[in-house]
Symmetry: C2
Subunit: 266 residues, 2 copies
Amino acid sequence: MSTVGPRSRAPRRTATTGLGGEQVEGRQAVRELLLADRRATREIWLAADLDPAPVLDDIRELAAEARVVVKEVGRGKLDAAARTDAPHGVLAFARPLPEVPVEELLGGGRGPAPFLLLSDGITDPGNLGALLRSAECAGVTGVILPKHRAVHITPAVTKAAAGAVEHLPMAVVGGLPTAIRELQQAGVQVVGLDERAERTVWDLGVGDGPVALVLGAEGPGLSRLVRDRCDHLVRIPMTGRLASLNVGTAGALACFEVARARHSLG
Amino acid sequence: MSTVGPRSRAPRRTATTGLGGEQVEGRQAVRELLLADRRATREIWLAADLDPAPVLDDIRELAAEARVVVKEVGRGKLDAAARTDAPHGVLAFARPLPEVPVEELLGGGRGPAPFLLLSDGITDPGNLGALLRSAECAGVTGVILPKHRAVHITPAVTKAAAGAVEHLPMAVVGGLPTAIRELQQAGVQVVGLDERAERTVWDLGVGDGPVALVLGAEGPGLSRLVRDRCDHLVRIPMTGRLASLNVGTAGALACFEVARARHSLG
């Protein structure tokens, strides 16, 4: 029930793909890593001083099933290896997240219509992770990230995503404008979230066909070329005094608007 | 253009009310503190090494108008006084947030119908702050917090709320079940968010009358008595593999569902 693995230090990282994700921190994130079983887990570290919790029992049981080594390590050693502020005593070393081609996200007519999420340069790892978590809950079927901005799935992203990165197929592309063209040629309606848009997400009416939501960076929003290429631009209707929502929250609201449309028509 | 104030150390804190909020950290939060002008600001500290930014210009201008002392302090001193991880070089000392009675939140028939948010024990400051920010953007008119659980508006709540606490009237009550009765007697429909509910927020149909949303703690959700007293229980419809949304995100989705109903009927 155990594999041969390094005993006294963190496993060496494998060559990274564009996505990353090799170091997984936090209880939910590690449990979903094992549950999804999309990539091999090399080793799991649990702090020796953890109080019992159902999620820890799940992790131990899933690890035993998958023959993954589980080590109890001192808190100091775990925190030294951790790359987020609060790994909550649980850390896993895994193969990088698999990268899929954009064509695969289009589904080839099988399964539900594609519901894609595109990040146009979201830079804060907490925001990107939170957004991925909400997107997965809303039924997003795939994610497209640009190679040169905000792409790597860091431990902070993985942790905030609470396991969503294990379930969401993700593609990395050279440029988002080109990817948008490709999606449009495949019949996908591309909707950009833009706080200056005239229409709101409530008026969107995308129906239940293939759709892609594009979210811009915190602050500047969508880049010029991406904005120009979108089929629709919509905003979240704001009725308070504050000028803006958190980008993760705005994205969650947009994702669930699409989910609602697909639900009522699907 | 300046008031007499302590020069070399952080102003003494005044006696706290139930709400707190005396120390405000982060650029958006401090700007909104000055913009809202609901309470006196004693002093503002800016790190001496800050790069120019429009939000900092806003803060300096609003402070000058309000005759609030602005001090440039060393980064080490500012970070030592800060109570959040990332004050982003801006810190304000202010009077505590004003507490309002529940009756005032009911509006007495003036203005828009009350749209209230009740926290049934949300404990994570980041979640509570993010929720308050979203709630303000959705048009929530008042917040009710229980005295004995998760009530104090800490610097971390204030910062995550990005200024929402300055605009949202807040009441503190001895017990939430009693407050719910009081709201119901005043004609407010009370809606609890509960992941085990049969109905979803999409089927809610609260219309544009007085409404209160109740959100439970991370993990356990609504407490038994609170759940029993709600007029409706609804859940966010989940279509992915993950079991749960972040409580701040779930709350944002519920708030904007109410906003949508009020918008389409109002």
